[in-house]
Structures are given as C-alpha cells and as structure tokens.
C-alpha cells in the first residue's frame, strides 16, 4: 500500500469531489433553479400585475374574457407554475434554516411542498376551466 506523505486537504473522497455534490446531495441545483425561476418570473409578474391593475374590480365576464385570450392564459399558467415552484424552493430554505429538529423539519418540508403543489394545481385548473369553457 502506497502511503500519502502529504496531509489530507479534505476529508471528501476524490469521487465525491469530482461529482461536485455536497452534503445536500443535490449540488448547486437548488440555488440555480431558484435564480432561473426568479428571472423567468420577472416579465410574467410585470405583465400580469399591470393587466390586473388595468382590469381592477372587473365583473365576471371581463375578468374571464381576459383570461380566455390565449396569450393571457399561457402567461398566467406559466406564472403560477414557475411562481409556486419558486415559492416552494424559497420556503424550503427558510424551513431548513429555522427548524433544527429533523422530524419536524422533514414534516414541515413535506407539508409545505404539498400545499404549494396543491395551490399550483388548483389555480392552473381554474385557468384551464375558464379558458377551455364553451361560450362566454
């Protein structure tokens, strides 16, 4: 067995370092997706926010006909999907920082992700119901 004369610089195995995944076992993917979703949301948030302000206090038909326009349906669905994904990643970091008990942390993470997924599905399904409905 050959003996390494120099002191080890790190306790991580060469394979672990080559794969580049840290203790989270997911590398920088969480950080990176958080930024990608943030950038993707910028034009969507601005467009939908300004549109909402312009049709503020709209009656049922006005609000529905805005959503029924294909461009608006797609913008809303993208915003809701990307937004709730971004929210889920953000809440995950907060929970991981502040909840130190392992059981409670895992349960909180699972609960939060379920709620965010449910919100996304409920809101996107509502958009689809409006956009794909017959008549007005």
């Amino acid at each position: 067995m050959s003996k390494n004369t120099s002191a080890p610089q790190s306790l991580r195995s060469p394979l672990g370092r080559a794969k580049g995944l840290g203790s989270s076992r997911s590398g920088v993917s969480h950080w990176w997706v958080q930024r990608l979703t943030a950038m993707g949301m910028l034009p969507l948030v601005l467009y939908c926010l300004i549109s909402f302000i312009l049709i503020a206090d709209a009656d049922l038909d006005t609000a529905r006909s805005w959503i029924r326009q294909p461009f608006n349906s797609v913008a809303m669905i993208l915003l809701l999907a990307v937004g709730f994904y971004h929210a889920s990643l953000g809440l995950q970091v907060v929970i991981e920082d502040y909840i130190s008990t392992k059981t409670r942390r895992i349960l909180s993470l699972a609960f939060t992700k379920m709620i965010m997924t449910a919100f996304a599905v409920m809101s996107i399904y509502s958009i689809l119901l409006i956009a794909l409905a017959d008549g007005v």
Partner: protein, 126 residues
Amino acid sequence: MTQKRPLSPHLMIYRPQLTSMMSITHRLSGVALASGSIFLVWWLVALAYGGDYYQMVQGIAEHVLGRLALLGFYVAVSYHMANGIRHLFWDFGIGLSLDGVYRGGYIVIGFTALSALAGIAILFLA
C-alpha cells in the same frame, strides 16, 4: 434534542443595519407572498366557479380590509421583485462592494416607496 440552542442566522445580537434588515425583509416578504397567494388561488377558483360565489369574493376584495390585504400583497411583490433583481446583480458580481450594497439598497427602498404610493392611489383613490 430538547436543548434550547440558538437558531441561525442570529438576528437579535446585532445592531440593525440597512443590509441585514433588507435581507430579512426579503425573506419575510417571500414568506408573506407564498402565504398570501392563497387569496390569488381563491379568487381564481371563484372566477372559474362564477355566479354569486364570485360576487362574494369580489365583495371581500372591495372591502377596506380586502383592499389593505391587496396593498400588502402588492407592496410585498414590489419589494421582493426589486430586491430579487439586486440579488441577481450580486450573482453576476455587480454591486458587491460596501458602497454598491448600500446604493442598491436605497434604490430598492425608493422603488418600493414609489410603487407603494402608486398602489395606494390605485386601490384607495381610483
């Protein structure tokens, strides 16, 4: 497990600074937006449901308390978006000096204040 160990990040042992206060406000506004999005979901469900149910939800949005909640959501969006752009600049290595961090901070606060004024005008005066 039951030891009362301090939580990280330690917020209470420092004198408040613009940088740290804006950092925690970014988190708080993010959590507020994630929680407050339940009202956006509710409004969209009501819009799909239609009829009297939509009228009821719309009535809540037009009530003073509903208006205040909308204003809060709108200000949180403004701040989180502006400060998020500040964070994205940092990710590209721009504005990371002490001066730059403060300058960006003042720009974000200024933008949020202007946006809040516009929001008050739209939600309460229009």
